[in-house]
């Protein structure tokens, strides 16, 4: 009987509390680790320094394409302070990108490690390289993808009442995490490794270390208390992670390898470039009828991801084909909403150009075609109206080309986006102590998004305890497994697992408390620090009284995602608008205002959710104005490998940012959905469209630097 009761409990579909029962959920709650981070008490991987730690450094190849013909690491052995030296690649290896790892050393100081690297003897046979994929015809290799078709694109295009043809280009951009990639590896026993690792995947990193080092995964412990950003670039332990552990083994001492900024920008990944030639056709009233696109791009030797074109709008007659162009630069990595920012830029630029050809406000063209956006149609429609109110888009919009006298032209632009964001696989263990404090353990990392805080909010809200009565333990592979933080899946995963674990713990408490309160367990609730009868809140036990029923033992329970009940969902919509000025004599683009209206289902913490949108706007503005990885045609190296030459927007460049989260009926009941990536998709597209509206010609290149703006003005927007 007891077993049956338990399995019944386990299968009970979990739900989120109704709006009137939420006490912390959806409030604006400051992140719990804010003070620790602001004061420096928070220790990031970079800050960890176990006793006797050595500094690891790597010798890197200066050529973009070469054969390693000779490598002799012996001269570095025995140099002052040098404790370990190893070859990373063998003679004969073909190097495919500049700054690839060749050899490694560990020494008692960074300077001694660098001196040892200089002593290593290495020879290369330099081979020809290709890094200029914008010139598709010059590419030695192009890997065409399969053609995606729906309906009769060619026929519909020929029959279209209005059509445009355009070419659009987006440069590769870097992740630029505040904390570079790296780890400290410490062998606690000959086959037991502890690694402090700046990672987006604590659970996954343990297995990767085990596999790379040939030791049982159970012997690896990965710790990441605080992570200084990931943005998609930190899913793998990477070659430098394995080498770090190998150096530590050789030296019999802990070793730290953190990439310097130069290496970070050269080899630690980027967002692939994207180029497209697009034709769009429509009826005179703006109804979209036809689309064809031919796109290409590069993300290193393997080519690049295929931007989903056309984006958001499932134009009835369409054809798309993407080609990957291999280049001799380090492989791209997932970059905050992989392929979507490029897809939005390419699509929304073409649709904005079409609106100009139609003589229509792009707002009306978008509104006219929402019926082909699928299940998000209603969300987009609601968001469009709110965005319009916040920006005054329809009221302030003018046809392309600001006719105001003088060189400063002002314009408005907009874009739409979507993303998945369903909660990932995650496990949580909740413990409620006799003193009525509770803790949640999840191996999940907090890559700066506020994961620690949302777990605390869910736990405290579920147990009816104040926030300061709960502790969150994350960032350790010894805690229950949780998936990587990618695809905006973390908040849905950890909050669902935590909710289920908390409800399972409550079931135990309610079962014990019910007889005391002369009620059935299902008649009870945990609220305001009490276990009480829902219908008669006066009949209650304090949490301490309830816990006393368990003697001196804590109550523990686990929860998992996925599980019974719908706590998370997939598919969010967002609308963004940009108001910019462009100086047509200097090409300087300034952001006046950005509006972002975003849906992400049920919001756990309004403040951290909004922060994700603000951060996305800033990062997106930065990619629109300035960000671009410059690969040297002559050497194949990354020329701008520091924050002086890799330009990013500063506080003076971002303008006024207005963020509105969609909440309430129609949104909350979908459950928790991730929001780290979706708002990153539209800024570039909205800004590029605003620039075209301001100056009267399309700037087809991203970023929209003074050079690109002036070039577009002098060629009337023809790329």
């Amino acid at each position: 009987m007891a077993d049956q009761a338990d399995s019944k409990t386990d299968a009970k579909a979990a739900t989120w509390p109704k709006a009137e029962d939420r006490r912390l959920l959806g409030q604006r709650i400051s992140r719990l680790d804010g003070p620790a981070k602001a004061s420096g008490r928070a220790k990031y991987t970079y800050d960890i320094k176990p006793p006797g730690m050595l500094w690891g450094k790597m010798l890197r190849c200066p050529h973009a394409h070469a054969r390693l013909t000779a490598l002799d690491v012996a001269p570095a052995q025995g140099m002052p302070g040098v404790k370990a030296v190893m070859a990373v690649q063998k003679p004969g290896a073909e190097i495919q990108w500049s700054f690839d790892e060749i050899a490694a050393v560990a020494a008692t100081s960074e300077a001694l490690a660098e001196a040892a690297l200089k002593a290593i003897k290495v020879e290369y046979e330099v081979l020809p390289h290709f890094v200029t994929e914008e010139k598709l015809a010059a590419a030695p290799q192009v890997n065409p993808g399969k053609e995606e078709t729906e309906g009769d694109a060619a026929g519909a295009l020929a029959a279209a009442e209005v059509k445009i043809k355009g070419s659009y280009f987006a440069a590769p951009v870097a992740h630029n995490c505040m904390e570079a990639h790296g780890q400290i590896c410490h062998w606690t026993e000959p086959d037991h490794l502890t690694a402090w690792c700046s990672t987006q995947a604590v659970s996954g990193a343990a297995s990767q270390f085990a596999e790379g080092l040939g030791i049982p995964a159970a012997n690896v412990r990965v710790i990441a208390d605080y992570v200084g950003g990931g943005f998609g670039s930190k899913f793998n332990v990477d070659r430098w992670g394995i080498v770090c552990a190998q150096l530590a083994k050789l030296a019999n001492a802990p070793v730290k390898i953190m990439l310097d900024r130069h290496s970070e920008l050269a080899v630690a990944g980027d967002r692939p470039s994207a180029f497209a030639e697009i034709e769009v056709g429509a009826k005179k009233d703006g109804t979209l009828t036809a689309w064809t696109s031919k796109s290409w791009g590069s993300g290193g030797p393997g080519g690049a991801g295929n931007p989903p074109l056309p984006y958001v709008f499932q134009i009835p007659n369409r054809k798309h084909q993407h080609s990957a162009v291999p280049t001799h630069r380090a492989s791209s990595r997932a970059w905050r909403a992989p392929n979507h920012p490029q897809a939005a830029f390419l699509t929304m630029s073409a649709l904005d150009d079409l609106a100009a050809a139609l003589g229509m406000n792009p707002y009306d063209v978008v509104a006219q075609n929402l019926s082909i956006t699928g299940r998000l149609e209603k969300i987009y429609r609601e968001e469009l109206e709110i965005a319009d109110q916040l920006m005054g888009f329809r009221q302030r919009w003018h046809p392309r080309g600001d006719a105001t006298k003088g060189p400063i032209k002002r314009g408005l632009g907009m874009s739409l986006h979507t993303w998945g964001g369903r909660g990932h696989r995650s496990n949580c263990e909740v413990t409620i102590h006799p003193d009525a404090t509770a803790e949640a353990k999840i191996s999940s990392q907090d890559i700066g998004t506020g994961t620690r805080t949302v777990i605390a909010v869910v736990l405290a809200d579920s147990l009816g305890l104040p926030l300061d009565a709960v502790q969150v333990r994350i960032g350790d592979s010894r805690y229950p497994a949780s998936s990587a933080s990618g695809g905006s899946t973390t908040v849905g995963g950890v909050s669902s697992a935590t909710r289920r674990a908390a409800l399972a713990a409550l079931d135990q408490v309610f079962a014990k408390a019910a007889p005391e309160l002369k009620a059935q367990p299902e008649e009870l609730e945990a609220a305001e620090g009490k276990i009480r009868v829902k219908a008669a809140p006066d009949r209650s036990l304090t949490w301490k009284q309830a816990m006393a029923l368990f003697g001196r033992s804590p109550v523990t329970a686990t929860g998992a995602n996925p599980g019974a009940g719908n706590l998370t969902d997939s598919g969010v919509g967002g609308v963004q608008m940009a108001d910019v000025t462009v100086d047509v004599e200097t090409g300087i683009l300034k952001i006046q205002k950005m509006v972002a209206v975003q849906d992400c289902g049920l919001i756990v913490d309004l403040k951290t959710a909004e922060s994700q949108v603000y951060g996305s706007l800033i990062m997106g503005i930065s990619t629109a104005l300035a960000e671009e990885k410059v690969i040297d045609p002559v050497t194949g190296m990354t020329l701008n490998h520091d924050f002086e030459t890799y330009k990013m927007a500063g506080f003076g460049d971002i303008g006024e940012l207005v963020v509105r989260m969609m909440t309430g009926p129609g949104y909350d009941e979908r459950g928790v959905i991730g929001v780290g990536e979706p708002p990153m998709v539209s800024p570039l597209a909205a800004i590029a469209n605003a620039a075209a509206n301001a100056i009267g010609v399309r700037v087809p290149w991203a970023p929209l630097t003074p050079r690109r703006v002036l070039d577009a003005l002098s060629t009337k927007g023809v790329a």
């Binding site: 300077a111 660098e114 001196a115 006298k405 003088g406 004599e585 200097t586 090409g587 300087i588 104005l625 300035a626 410059v630 040297d632 045609p633 002559v634 050497t635 190296m637 020329l639 701008n640 002086e644 030459t645 330009k647 927007a649 500063g650 506080f651 003076g652 460049d653 630097t705 003074p706 050079r707 002036l710 070039d711």
Partner: protein, 330 residues
Amino acid sequence: MHPIEYASPNTREQAVKLLGTDPAAAAPFAGGSDLLGLMKDGVETPKRLVSLKGIAGLTGVRSESGGLRIGALTVLDDLAADAALGFEYPAVTAAAGRLAGPQIRNVATLGGNLLQRPRCWYYRNGFGLLALRDGKSMVVDGDYRYHAILGNEGPAYFVSPSTLAPVLVAVGAQAVLFGPQGERRIELEKLYRIPKQPGEREHDLRPGEILTEVHLPPAAGRKVASYEVRQRTSLDWSLATASVALEMLPDGKVTQARVVLGQVAPMPWVALAAAEVLKGKQIDVALATQAGEAAVHSAVALEKNRYKIQLAKTAVKRALIAAAGIIEDE
């Protein structure tokens, strides 16, 4: 970074002696905001740093009947805040207060700003000031989006990075140098040159010589203004700048003009043709535009840096409009 010797002399004479005659072996050290970065990147490898900070009398602004004397070790924040300089040449204090960011302005010195090395990314990546490989310029075949459009016959294609040099050259500043042969004073303009072969530098400092002072003549009613085209609002290098100094009659007619461009040539670029356009005329938008055209008349650019011609032209126009105090829309 390799081990270095750090010398801290307290006289100019000692400093010069410690610097010796090989500029690659010993480097003068002031704020260090440029030099330390170059050393960390292995681009410059001096074995000895000779600090100039212990030498008395190298900081501050002093007013004299003949103008202003500014110590080469005056940090940029002090320069920006100096009342006497601000009264005489507000365009100079404004330029100093705008450049880089607060941290840099707190340590970087006037001398360092005038003598900092070019930002050319080939030079900064260790390919040498002229970035020659097998006798060929890497710049021309590479990415030259920030490179020179004037004075770019080669092999030098970098641009002079100083934000203060153009405005100081425009007002006729003089540089006071101290070396093994004692003190000499030259026009600041003459401190700069375009290197023609490997081993040559972008300035005329002789071995062992240091910059000790900059002298500014009295403004004497001249109208001085600068315009900077900068992509980001802070912590960014200008893409082009123009500084102008105008002597005008009461009726607004220009009797003397100096127009100096920055970030467009391997040295601060004195645009004589632009000055010629202005002479004897009253400045209006049309004349300012014409002077801008004249300033870039001899510019040579390729695809990637063509936009800089437009930027330089606009900078000249806007600096002239600001100096003459007219409003463009009128």
